[in-house]
Symmetry: C2
Subunit: 117 residues, 2 copies
């Protein structure tokens, strides 16, 4: 996750597909390494940065930050900062974020079925 190069063929291809296919659009939004798990956890309610970090034992702080920022930029999660010391930041799904529930459910269902083959 760094700046993307808006002149690359890769970028253009992704954009074109995203544009034409809503399913690819969605996949691109929730397709990071950790985005889906984060959303899954947040389905159950708001969580602090540190709580998320503990729930995802192997994630680095950098990745967690990046993914959360991306989700925030896409209006999937809401970030609330409390002006305290030490700082407290809470993450929560937005309404459209919660709407991912059936999506995740289907992914889950299929995954379980496929795994058992």
């Amino acid at each position: 996750m760094s700046k993307i190069k808006e002149t690359s063929t890769n970028f253009a291809n992704k954009a074109a597909l995203s544009d034409e296919c809503p399913e690819v659009y969605t996949a691109n939004l929730i397709g990071g390494q950790w985005a889906l798990v984060i959303c899954s956890w947040l389905m159950q309610g708001k969580l602090r940065f540190g709580e998320l970090r503990k729930l995802l034992p192997n994630i680095t702080e950098r990745m967690l930050t990046l993914q959360l920022r991306r989700l925030e930029a896409n209006h999937i999660v809401k970030r609330t900062v409390y002006a305290e010391v030490p700082p407290r930041v809470e993450y929560e799904l937005t309404p459209i974020g919660y709407d991912l529930k059936p999506v995740i459910k289907e992914l889950e269902k299929w995954g379980e079925k496929h795994k058992s083959l």
Copy 2:
């Protein structure tokens, strides 16, 4: 798409998540740049290599091959080679591949809703 390094932290993380979360497992299987679109097209019936290539104007033959092979390895598509000259190869979803239909539908629905925000 090349060999993955099975000693990398990245690999370990992906494997662990895939293992624990069926939704991540699914996302990893259909999450390539082109996999989802390929599946979408194949939902409508079997297609030849060349037909797929024409349907996905910007894909390189290499990527198409790689993605198809990956989908094949995961039993999502079936590959049928006809011993003719010039060669003819047909790709078709397997039953579990067709089962992706509701998944794709949900991804699509959410994508459309989210896009219109």
